[in-house]
C-alpha cells in the first residue's frame, strides 16, 4: 500500500437493506428491536427502523480494507454516532457513502479522516482511522 498525505481515496457506496440489518443482528448479537421493528422504533421517537451504528462503522471498516488492499491493516478506528441511518422497508434500501482523505503518515501508520454520509448528510461524527504503514 502506498498512500500519501492529501490522497483522496476512492469513494465507496454501499446499500443497506432491512434484510442486511437482520443478518447483522444475528452476526453481532445486537438484537435491539429498533433495528428491526418499525413499531418499537417509532414508539421511542425514531422516524423508523435504523441501522446499528456499529453496522455503519463496519461499512467504514470495509472501505478501509478496500483502500488498504488487504484485511487486518486497521490499527485504530473511531467515530461518534451522530445521526441515525433510517432504513426503509423495501427492496431498494438506503445508500451509505464512505470517503477518506489521508491526513498524515507517521511511524504509527497512515492517518485517515473518513466521511460517512447517507442522503448527502453525515451520519458519523469525526470518523477516523489509522492503517498500518
Amino acid at each position: 500500500m502506498s498512500l500519501s498525505v492529501g490522497d483522496e481515496l476512492p469513494e465507496q457506496t454501499y446499500t443497506v437493506t432491512r434484510a442486511a440489518l437482520v443478518r447483522y443482528a444475528g452476526a453481532s448479537g445486537d438484537f435491539n428491536p429498533i433495528h428491526w421493528s418499525q413499531r418499537v422504533a417509532t414508539s421511542v421517537g425514531l422516524p423508523g427502523v435504523i441501522a446499528h451504528g456499529m453496522y455503519t462503522l463496519a461499512l467504514a471498516a470495509r472501505a478501509l480494507d478496500t483502500w488498504a488492499g488487504a484485511t487486518g491493516q486497521v490499527r485504530e478506528l473511531s467515530c461518534k454516532f451522530t445521526k441515525p441511518v433510517v432504513v426503509p422497508d423495501d427492496e431498494t434500501g438506503v445508500e451509505v457513502v464512505v470517503r477518506g482523505t489521508v491526513k498524515n503518515v507517521t511511524d504509527e501508520g497512515v492517518h485517515i479522516a473518513l466521511e460517512v454520509t447517507s442522503g448527502g448528510e453525515k451520519v458519523l461524527g469525526m470518523p477516523k482511522a489509522v492503517l498500518r504503514a
Binding site: 454501499y14 443478518r23 444475528g26 448479537g29 470495509r62 484485511t71 478506528l77 454516532f81
Partner: protein, 135 residues
C-alpha cells in the same frame, strides 16, 4: 433515575471466553459485505466480545441502567493485532468516566480484549448514553 456515582472506576469480571470460529467470522463478514480471506477478522468484529461486556454492565441490577434508555454515543478501537480464527477472547470492562448532563448519564467504558494467554488484542472504548425519564 441516575446511575450510582460509585460506578466510576469500577471494573467488571471478565466475560466468559469466546472462541473465534471460522463460521462466526465468515458470518460477520457476510453481514457487513466485508472480505474474509482466511486471515484477519473484520476490524469491527471485536464488538461481539465488547458487546457482551457492555450487556453485563447494563444488565447488572446494582448499576441501575434501564436498557431501553441506552444509546451508543461513540466507539473507538485500538488494535494490538487483528483477531484471527482460533482466538479465545475475553473482555474486561472498566467504567472510565461517569458524568451527568441534562438528566442523562454519560458512561465512558473501556473493554480490554485479551487472548487465551492474557495478551492484549484490542481495546474497545464505548460511550453509553443513558437517558433519564424526562430526557
Amino acid at each position: 433515575m441516575a446511575v450510582d456515582a460509585s460506578l466510576a472506576g469500577r471494573t467488571f469480571p471478565p466475560t466468559p471466553p469466546y472462541t473465534v470460529s471460522e463460521e462466526r467470522v465468515a458470518e460477520f463478514a457476510r453481514a457487513t459485505g466485508s472480505t474474509y480471506d482466511g486471515h484477519a477478522a473484520p476490524a469491527t468484529f471485536p464488538i461481539v466480545v465488547a458487546f457482551a461486556a457492555m450487556t453485563a454492565l447494563m444488565e447488572d441490577p446494582s448499576v441501575g441502567i434501564a436498557l431501553h434508555r441506552v444509546v451508543h454515543g461513540d466507539q473507538r478501537f485500538t488494535y494490538t493485532r487483528p483477531v484471527v480464527v482460533g482466538d479465545v477472547l475475553t473482555a474486561t470492562l472498566t467504567v472510565d468516566s461517569l458524568r451527568q448532563i441534562g438528566g442523562a448519564d454519560i458512561i465512558g467504558t473501556r473493554s480490554e480484549i485479551t487472548d487465551a494467554e492474557g495478551l492484549p488484542v484490542c481495546t474497545a472504548f464505548a460511550t453509553l448514553v443513558h437517558r433519564g425519564e424526562d430526557a
